[in-house]
């Protein structure tokens, strides 16, 4: 039991580092936070960039520290940092579906929260947060797919080596949208545990297609989306009868 719990905890802690590394990579050379401070709050560019650099360094150090020595206070700070990142994305906007940023990041926000609940030994809430994180993120992706997000269209067309036309890609996205929606609903029912396996597979595929499409330079986009499949793995392990979590 203890060993299996440790595996769950280890996975979440690893995910924390992967996620923080992705955010670090995305923001270190200038991203949404410096853009928000400079463009929206009138802070000078050099100060904005410095604040952002400090922010991502602190985020990464906290993530590593929490992974090695998890405690609820550093995890709370990590949650606030990730929330700040979400808010900056939302305020800066200028991307497709920017209005959905908050809910699209639900799985990322769920990582530190689920670890806190694990430490507090609140098993029911822990499972609830994992499901909520996965479900809301899948729901957001369902809507974006249904609305034919141009990035998604190009992933499909690029994946087919330009043999798929945009019209057919749009239809496929509608089907994907429906499947994502069903997954987001069915994952709440324990008897449809097979859905979680699908969500792990699909979460990984949709995260990795960023690298497949634009090369390893785009690894940060994959890293920030690792919760989309790691949370599913954690959930499968946690729901197993043998894996009743006890304490850290």
């Amino acid at each position: 039991m203890k060993h299996q719990f440790n595996t769950v905890s280890l996975l979440l802690r690893l995910n924390l580092i992967l996620l923080a590394s992705g955010v670090f990579w995305q923001l270190y050379t200038g991203g949404s936070i410096s853009s928000m401070l400079f463009m929206n709050f009138g802070i000078t560019e050099i100060v904005s960039l410095t604040i952002e650099k400090i922010f991502v360094v602190v985020l990464l150090i906290l993530a590593i520290y929490s992974a090695v020595n998890p405690n609820i206070y550093t995890l709370y700070i990590l949650f606030v940092c990730l929330m700040f990142n979400v808010i900056s994305h939302h305020i800066v906007g200028g991307k497709h579906f920017s209005d959905l940023t908050f809910i699209a990041h639900f799985s990322r926000l769920a990582v530190p929260v689920s670890l806190v609940l694990l430490i507090k030994n609140k098993y029911t809430d822990f499972v609830m947060v994992l499901k909520l994180g996965l479900s809301v993120t899948f729901l957001t992706h369902a809507w974006e797919a249904w609305q034919a997000n141009p990035f998604f269209l190009d992933y499909l067309i690029g994946f087919s080596r330009m043999s798929l036309n945009e019209n057919n890609a749009t239809y496929i996205l509608k089907i994907i949208g429906v499947i994502d929606l069903l997954s987001a609903i069915l994952c709440w029912f324990n008897k449809f545990k097979i859905i979680l396996f699908w969500m792990v597979f699909w979460g990984f595929t949709t995260a990795f297609i960023r690298v497949y499409d634009s090369g390893w330079e785009n690894l940060a986009e994959f890293l920030v989306r690792t919760p989309n499949f790691i949370l599913g793995i954690v959930l499968i392990m946690s729901l197993s009868k043998r894996n009743k979590l006890i304490a850290l």
Partner: protein, 426 residues
């Protein structure tokens, strides 16, 4: 004569309707925001657009090739009804910011004569604009001059610019554009690389259109706009107020088209905010196959850069431009690429297959029409040995004359910040 009869006759005369007379009121507060869009055929077609504060039943453009200033509008021999009218979408925060409810109007003027001055006034019901004019392009000409710039959205780098209604840098750049047109009347159009306001909400666009009026010269010349769509132009306000007719309705969100300025000079506008690999890719490939052979000069413009000056090179949206479009640009030998988005001034070295190569394509722009300027990364390989990257409000002037294109970046103080020449590849 009976006095009652005289009074009666006078009353009858007074009540007689005046035939063919339009009762007009000139009130720039009720009809405003004059703007002209060029799309595919600027020699013969222009879209005249404006805003009204009241929902007019009659919305028209009166026009002629000679001025009718200070005359009744019915002295204009031609008129065209607006073919797209509607209430501009507003949200609660738009109205709370102090902008009024308003209506958009767009009129297509077709079958225009090339290389001709057109004087016009627009009206919503009985409220008329002052007289403005524009000049259509000449198909036969070997010469052409136009301005290019992008990113005129607001920011808060300056204390006085915290109010988007003030936005002094954008105003200064627009006044510079008017001055440049007065000094160089051969300038035909302003190509805009997008990101007009912070977003395409009415509270952003209302002030953008107000400021755009500053580009009008003292004698009333309106510079036609050739627009692209940027990542801050997603809201419905963009399609309402920047309507381009069939170009807007084209597959895959539209806003990609070829502007044939003259028989030998063309500009392709692309939309980075929609699928790059879908319909647009097929259209671009077909258009390049057709246009490269037919034009001495072939340029492209779009919002998000292939070779960014400020933002990370590896970012997904820029990688997409390099993956899908740049190979086509290189295959068909585009003469110059115009890019925006970064908020800086840049000129790359010629690039071919992602390496410096004298036979490659130069990428210029990055956006300086008033948006707060960022500091670019001038150490990137494509700015070394002949490239340039700096932080400067600017507008580009492109002068085509036979086989030479003179390109100058004009700074906010009407000074040349950067200039270079390229020769036609044909």
């Amino acid at each position: 004569m009976d006095i009652k009869l005289v009074v009666f006759l006078l009353l009858v005369l007074a009540c007689q309707p005046k035939k063919n007379t339009v009762i007009e009121k000139t009130n720039s507060q009720k009809v405003m925001h004059p703007r002209i869009f060029w799309t595919e055929n600027p020699a013969n077609h222009a879209i005249i657009s404006w805003t009204s504060l009241e929902d007019g039943a009659i919305n028209k453009v009166y026009f002629d090739t000679i001025s009718h200033e200070n005359k009744k509008v019915d002295s204009y021999p031609f008129f065209s009804d607006a073919n797209s009218n509607g209430k501009i979408t507003t949200r609660k925060d738009d109205l709370e910011s102090g902008v009024p409810n308003a209506y958009f109007h767009h009129t297509d003027l077709t079958d225009l004569k090339e290389g001709t001055k057109y004087y016009y006034r627009f009206c919503s019901d009985s409220t008329f604009s002052p007289e403005y004019y524009f000049i259509t392009s000449s198909k036969k000409s070997n010469e052409l001059t136009f301005l290019y710039g992008g990113d005129s959205r607001s920011g808060e780098d300056d204390e006085e610019d915290k109010d988007p209604a003030i936005h002094s840098k954008r105003k200064a750049m627009n006044q510079l554009i008017a001055t440049l047109v007065e000094q160089n009347p051969e300038i035909m159009a302003l190509v805009h690389g997008a990101d007009y306001g912070m977003d395409a909400s009415w509270k952003s666009l209302y002030h953008w259109f107000n400021d755009h009026e500053l580009t009008i010269t003292k004698d009333g010349r309106v510079l036609p706009l050739i627009i692209s769509r940027g990542n801050h132009d997603h809201e419905i306000g963009f399609t309402e107020n920047f309507r381009l007719g069939t170009v807007t309705e084209r597959n895959s969100d539209g806003y990609y088209y070829k502007t044939q300025f003259t028989d030998s000079i063309a500009l392709i506008t692309l939309n980075t905010e929609t699928s790059m690999a879908g319909y647009q890719y097929k259209w671009l490939k077909k258009e390049l196959e057709k246009s490269r052979a037919a034009n001495k000069w072939l340029l492209v413009q779009y919002h998000k850069p292939a070779y960014p000056a400020v933002k990370p090179f590896d970012r997904e949206d820029f990688a997409r431009v390099r993956k899908y479009w740049v190979p086509l640009f290189e295959q068909f030998g585009i003469d110059l690429a115009l890019e925006s988005d970064g908020h800086s001034l840049k000129k790359t070295v010629p690039i071919l297959k992602n390496k410096p190569n004298p036979k490659g394509i130069i990428y210029i722009g990055e956006g300086g029409l008033g948006v707060p300027q960022r500091t670019p990364d001038s150490k990137r390989w494509y700015f070394k040995n002949g490239g340039h990257a700096s932080s400067n409000h600017h507008v580009w002037m492109l002068k085509f004359k036979n086989n030479v294109l003179k390109t100058s970046a004009i700074g906010i103080d009407n000074n040349v910040v950067l200039d270079f020449e390229i020769k036609s590849k044909k």
